[in-house]
Assembly symmetry: C2
Homo-oligomer: 181 residues x 2
């Protein structure tokens, strides 16, 4: 699924994958040039769990804005948030995703969301792939010497790889518009 298309080889772009969260917001900026994909930046934005909620969201807002300015992505791929068993966590994840989506779109950057199963399917070949299988594929695809850590950064890289695999490079950025509904 990562085979280069002849017309893609001379084109390049930076895709920022984001696994939204308030305690840990994973990010991975990947530079894709044809079949070659390099890591530009990869890590986790954090905020102290004993800090006031609004202050934590403001911290994420500032940190993510700085990241966008630094990385200047051509598109931002964000994991779609679902309501899970832990309602309290789901709420803060939804609030964090709101901040991330709003900031990226505010800067005119195309934003696309992918569900966890879409990401697993694109990266590891199955929507039911386990975390380790996804991490191993991310490691292999990015030619990393060890498993990508922490998990949230690895997930963000998988989301960016999903976007790179999901859309032909030539139309990737334009097509990302309007897919986040």
């Amino acid at each position: 699924m990562f085979a280069p298309r002849p017309s893609d080889v001379d084109r390049h772009e930076v895709i920022l994958g984001v696994d939204p969260g308030l305690t840990r917001c994973g990010f991975a900026a990947l530079h894709a040039r044809g079949a070659t994909i390099d890591v530009v930046a990869m890590g986790v934005l954090t905020s102290p769990s004993d800090m006031d909620l609004a202050e934590r969201l403001a911290m994420l807002h500032g940190d993510f804005e700085s990241l966008l300015k630094e990385v200047r992505p051509h598109a931002v791929a964000v994991e779609r948030v679902f309501f899970q068993s832990n309602v309290s966590t789901a709420m803060s994840v939804a609030q964090a995703s709101g901040v991330v989506l709003a900031l990226a779109a505010s800067r005119g950057i195309p934003v696309v969301q992918y569900s966890p199963s879409q990401v697993k399917s694109a990266v590891a070949g199955s929507g039911n792939a386990d975390k380790l299988a996804v991490q191993k594929m991310v490691q292999r695809r990015l030619s990393l010497s060890s498993l990508p850590e922490p998990a949230d950064a690895s997930d963000a890289a998988a989301i960016a790889l999903c976007h790179i695999a999901a859309s032909p490079l030539a139309t990737r950025v334009g097509a990302a518009q309007g897919v986040t509904k």
Copy 2:
């Protein structure tokens, strides 16, 4: 509950109440000076429901940022979001609240959240008060000639009134810090 305290009479402040939402985000900026409360601005921020989610959040982000600059509130009171029956709506409400909380705190404005029952209890005397009872109390408290409309703006005014009622003016702004957890 709105009786003036002697020490409050010469003090004044602007409280911005917000009922977060993506389709309709109600707001009401109230100027309180002792027992006198005037409406500075009241209305609803909207975004088209057929627009891309990230674009809608970006629109709310820009509109709410402009509102904060225009109104320059001393504190922002936001209705606390809960997961309700409509999961799809709850998600976008949570995302919208994330944007609102992050922007207010980013500007260094104290932010406080109140639950719907806290608002009803403070404004209409009962946590189970119906919407009409709350609207009538908002109308009376703000000396409006008719029931406040639309409902989201009225709700936002109730949230601001709740904050004004809940904390003595002298300590209101300072105490708002750290209450949004």
